[in-house]
Every structure is written in C-alpha cells, then in structure tokens.
C-alpha cells in the first residue's frame, strides 16, 4: 500500500540527545521525513497524550530525521519524555519551504526556531556567505551553535550567539543585531524562525530596506492540512499557505506580530 502522508506512521525513537536542560532531540528512521524541504513540519503524535506540529530536524545519518523539542506544556513535555525504544506517530510533511537565495544570507533563529534553520544550512551553496544569529535567554539555553559551524565548514560564515543576560556571546536581543547587520550590509536573503516578536522585528528591519526576507509562522495547529482553521493568520492558513511567508506578504498581514488564536479560536494579543 502506498503511504498516505496524511495518516500517522509509527516510528521508534532510536536516540535522544539533550541539547539544554529543557530541549532534547529525538532521532528516528524515516525516509520521507529525512528528506523534507527546509521549513517543512510534521504532525507528531505522542500516543495517549497529544499531537503537535514540529519542524523536522536533520540527522547526519541518511534515512533518519529528528524532532528537537522544548519542554513546555503537557504535550511538549510528553514528547520531551519519550525514551529510546518508545514509539511516536508522524504524518506529513506539511507546509511550504524556504525560497533559498544565493549570495549573502542571514539566518535568525531563536529557541527551537533554529530547527528549520539547521536544515536550511544543509541547502546553502558553497559560494554563499552565511551569517547565523542565535538568540537565547542565557548561556545554558544556547544550542546548535556547534552544529551551525559544522554545517558551514565549507562556507565563508559567521555564527553569532546573543544572550539576553550576556552570559554567553553578545549581550542583548538578537533583533538589535539584525537591525545593525542589515543597515551595514546588503543581504540577498534573510530567514527567520522563532518567537513571533523576534520574527516581526527581523522582517521589519529587512523588508523596510527592500531585502528579501522570509519567516516561518507558528500558530495553534490541530489538523495541519487546511481543514480546521485553527492556524489562521488573517486570511492565511499557516499550515497550508505557509508556514513560510515573505516580507511583502507579512507586512500586509494585520495579525502577524500582534495576535494569535488560542485553543478555542479566540484572538489573543502577543
């Protein structure tokens, strides 16, 4: 039987790596998930607990993929607690992909928003000059810095970490660094994923200067396939029209950066 992408496939977790005290990466084998496009996500079923949208993390082994999850509420904590040998379900991949430009690229990621950035890094050309900005609250929340450097060994590159409290890397908000960088240099493409306020400012900084910018939006997602409506952002459905939107589109969307819907569908401010 041909695989139905919209029907859960069960996979077994083969390896769990702690990235920070609250973030873990769970590896599994799955050909389809190992080959998703940068920016695509899966719906991840934690049997008996919940099902959540998760960006598909890369693995350095072929045929494998992973999820990098931050322990937060019930559902994500359920996933965080999955042990090697246990099973989860995956369906997808869903969503569109980053439109990867060539030349000088800037990637801006915060927290698990770094996940799609890592896959994006596996798609850059050797001739690209790549700057990666990693934002975190404090030193012990920083992860994927080494991975980013490793993925970029063949590129002219720069991986910059900012912590809010200055306990590691540069002190301050990642968005201040973005503003500085884009005002100094022309970038051919800016990509961002992470907290919405961070993405909003990044998009503003780049778009106002005519720089091509794309952000991957997070919204409450129940179905992932454009049926339930829970992920709407203005007239867009994040799961189906996105999750990736460009600066032109986002600058016209009145909800981006300001509000999102909760589980009941009520609009709430960020």
């Amino acid at each position: 039987m041909q695989r139905n992408f919209n029907h859960t496939t069960i996979v077994t977790i083969e390896k769990v790596v702690d990235e920070t005290p609250t973030v873990r990466t769970l590896y599994f084998s799955d050909d389809i998930m190992s080959n998703v496009l940068p920016g695509q996500f899966a719906m991840v079923w934690i049997p008996g607990i919940n099902e959540l949208p998760m960006s598909v993390m890369i693995s350095n082994e072929s045929g494998k993929a992973a999820f990098t999850v931050r322990k937060h509420g019930l559902a994500s904590t359920g996933l965080f607690n999955i042990k090697t040998g246990e099973k989860i379900g995956v369906r997808g991949p869903y969503g569109n992909a980053f439109d990867i430009k060539q030349g000088k690229l800037l990637l801006v990621g915060g927290g698990t928003g770094l996940v799609p950035m890592m896959r994006l890094l596996t798609h850059v050309k050797p001739t690209d000059d790549v700057t990666v900005l990693i934002g975190a609250k404090s030193k012990d929340e920083v992860f994927f810095e080494n991975l980013a450097n490793d993925l970029l060994t063949n590129n002219s590159h720069n991986v910059i970490v900012c912590t809010d409290d200055g306990s590691y890397g540069e002190k301050g908000f990642v968005t201040d660094v973005v503003e500085k960088l884009v005002s100094d240099t022309h970038f051919d493409g800016v990509y961002t994923c992470g907290p919405e306020k961070m993405m909003y400012k990044t998009v503003q900084s780049a778009h106002s200067r005519g720089i091509f910018v794309q952000a991957s939006l997070e919204r409450m997602m129940k179905c992932g396939v454009g049926i339930c409506g829970s992920c709407c952002v203005g007239e867009d459905l994040a799961c189906k029209d996105g999750t990736i939107f460009d600066g032109v589109h986002l600058s016209q969307n009145k909800e981006f950066g300001y509000s999102h819907r909760n589980k009941a569908g009520i609009l709430e401010d960020y």
Partner: protein, 303 residues
C-alpha cells in the same frame, strides 16, 4: 443565455450553490471573505456554543487510509459572543451561523448575541456524533428538537436550518419534528460516527476514541438521505457529505438538494474546489440546457 448558478433554499437566496460546511476553516472573518471570493455561495461557521470550548486534545483530525477524514475536534469554538463581535464588520459574505447547545435557552441566548450581525441564516447542529449532551444526543430526542426549533424560530426572523445526521434513532423523524416545528430547511448530513485504531500502538487514534467520518466515503450515504428526505417531505434541502466534484454536486441536486455544503474536499483539493464545482456545474447546465439550478432539483425522483 448563460445559465445562472444562483439558487434559493426556501427564502434564503444564494449566488452560488456550494457553501463551506460547518467546522471547516470556519473561525475567522478574513478566511470567510477569502472563501467567498474563491467561489463559495455562503459560509457556515464552526458550531458555536454559549461559552468558548477548547475542544478535545489532539489528535482531533486525520485522514483515513482508504479515503476520507475522521475528526473529533470536540466542537472547539470561541463561543457565540466572541464570535459575534468578530463578524460584526461583515457586509458582503453570506454567513450562516451554526449553533450547538443542549437546551432551548442556549440557542435563544446565542441568537441574541448576533443581533448586530449580518447573518444569512442560522443552522442548528442536531447531529454532531462525538460530543456528549449536544448534537446527535439532541437530534435523537424529538421533544427537545421540537422545543429548540420552536424557541429559535421565535427568536429570529432569519431562516433557520436543522442539520441532521445518522444517530441512534430514525433521522427522518427528526426531520419531521423539525418541519412540524417550523424549520425552514434541512442540511443532511453531518459526519458518521466512526473509529480508527493504530495497530502499532493498539490505541484508538483520536483522543476522543470515537469521531465522525467525512469525505468521499460518506457520499453515497448522504445522497440517499437527501433522496429519502426529498421523497418524503416538502422542505428545502442542503446536501452535505463527501461532495468534492461537480458531478457530486449534480447528484445531490438531482436527489433533491437545492444547495450543497462541503468540507473534507478542502482537505483533499484545497479551496479551489468551489471554483471547480461552479465551473463544472455551469458546463453541465449548458449541455443539458438548464438556465437555473432549480430545474434540476429532484429530477432523479421521477424514476
């Protein structure tokens, strides 16, 4: 002369015959606008309750191996009051407000919330198959149906539609009770109670275990309900269940539906499904020399 896609369901007039079914993409006015522009004749809102509901935990929706979708969203919705405020600015879009509740007073209060809104009709969800105390549990109780329909009819001048489905009693009795209580139209059908089990983990997939089956699998069942209702009663019918092509739409018109609703097809083919259906229906009407939808409604009953 170019045939017209306009249709009327009792006193409700629509420019195009295919509407968005309740519960699909139905929580934001912006999205309603987009669907209307993409060819929907009207949009039905998610079923609203008097208080906001979070619904069931995920998994709440998935695609069934072999076709169709299963859901137990648990009627998650922002509540009638929040929703009414959101759609207050609406001018253009024909919005049908779907309501769900357990007692007549629920419905009365909710309808009141919409007094400042441009509402085309109300649809009473008497048929959700997977939430306790509402939906089918109401639809299966004739006395309650009678009270609710009567109350609702006294609370609004807008057309009121009863949405029925396959429950544990004869849905035709629910239809009859609704008609006798003054209902303006019937939508048939809601999802059909169903289940799927994951063989690896050996659990029901939906967090609620039971859910509602929708999409292509239920089309032949929905079609027979429309035919049964239209053969038995003289009431405008909106066909719903598994419609995804213009041929499906025509089948429902021929069976006796004056308009149709669709949901799952959006999951399969995205929102251009409205435009595709409109084009196909128009082409069919040209070939068969019809100038209005009405001319085909119920034609299959003569055999």
């Amino acid at each position: 002369m170019e045939p017209s896609l306009a249709t009327s369901v009792g006193k409700m007039k629509l420019d195009k015959p295919a509407m968005l079914a309740s519960g699909i993409l139905g929580i934001s006015l912006d999205v309603f606008n987009r669907l209307y522009r993409s060819g929907a004749g009207a949009v039905v809102t998610k079923s609203l309750s008097s208080e906001p509901w979070e619904g069931y935990p995920n998994p709440t929706i998935f695609s069934v191996n072999g076709g169709g979708w299963m859901n137990a969203v648990g009627l998650s919705n922002p509540g009638a009051s929040n929703f009414a405020k959101m759609i207050e600015p609406n001018q253009d879009v024909p919005i049908i407000v779907s309501l769900v509740g357990s007692i007549p007073k629920d419905f009365e209060m909710m309808i009141n919330e919409f007094k400042n809104c441009n509402v085309t009709a109300f649809e009473l969800n008497l048929s959700c198959p997977h939430v306790a105390k509402v939906g089918l549990e109401v639809g299966d109780d004739p006395e309650l149906v009678k009270k609710i329909v009567t109350t609702v009819k006294n609370s609004t001048t807008a057309p009121v539609i009863a949405k029925v489905g396959l429950g544990t009693t004869n849905y035709l009795n629910t239809v009859k009770t609704a008609i006798d209580s003054g209902i303006d139209a019937i939508t048939a059908i809601n999802t059909v109670r169903a289940m799927a089990i994951d063989v690896e983990t050996q659990r029901p997939i939906l967090s609620n275990k039971y859910g509602g089956l929708s999409g292509t699998p239920i089309k032949p069942i929905a079609l027979r309900c429309v035919y049964e209702i239209s053969s038995k009663y003289d009431i405008p019918i909106i066909g719903c269940g598994g419609i995804s092509t213009w041929e499906d739409a025509i089948e429902f018109f021929l069976a006796g539906a004056s308009a149709i609703q669709l949901g799952s097809a959006i999951g399969d083919n995205w929102i251009n499904v409205f435009d595709d259906i409109n084009k196909g229906v128009l082409e069919y009407m040209k070939q068969k020399n019809y100038s209005t939808i009405e001319e085909m409604v119920g034609l299959a009953k003569k055999f």
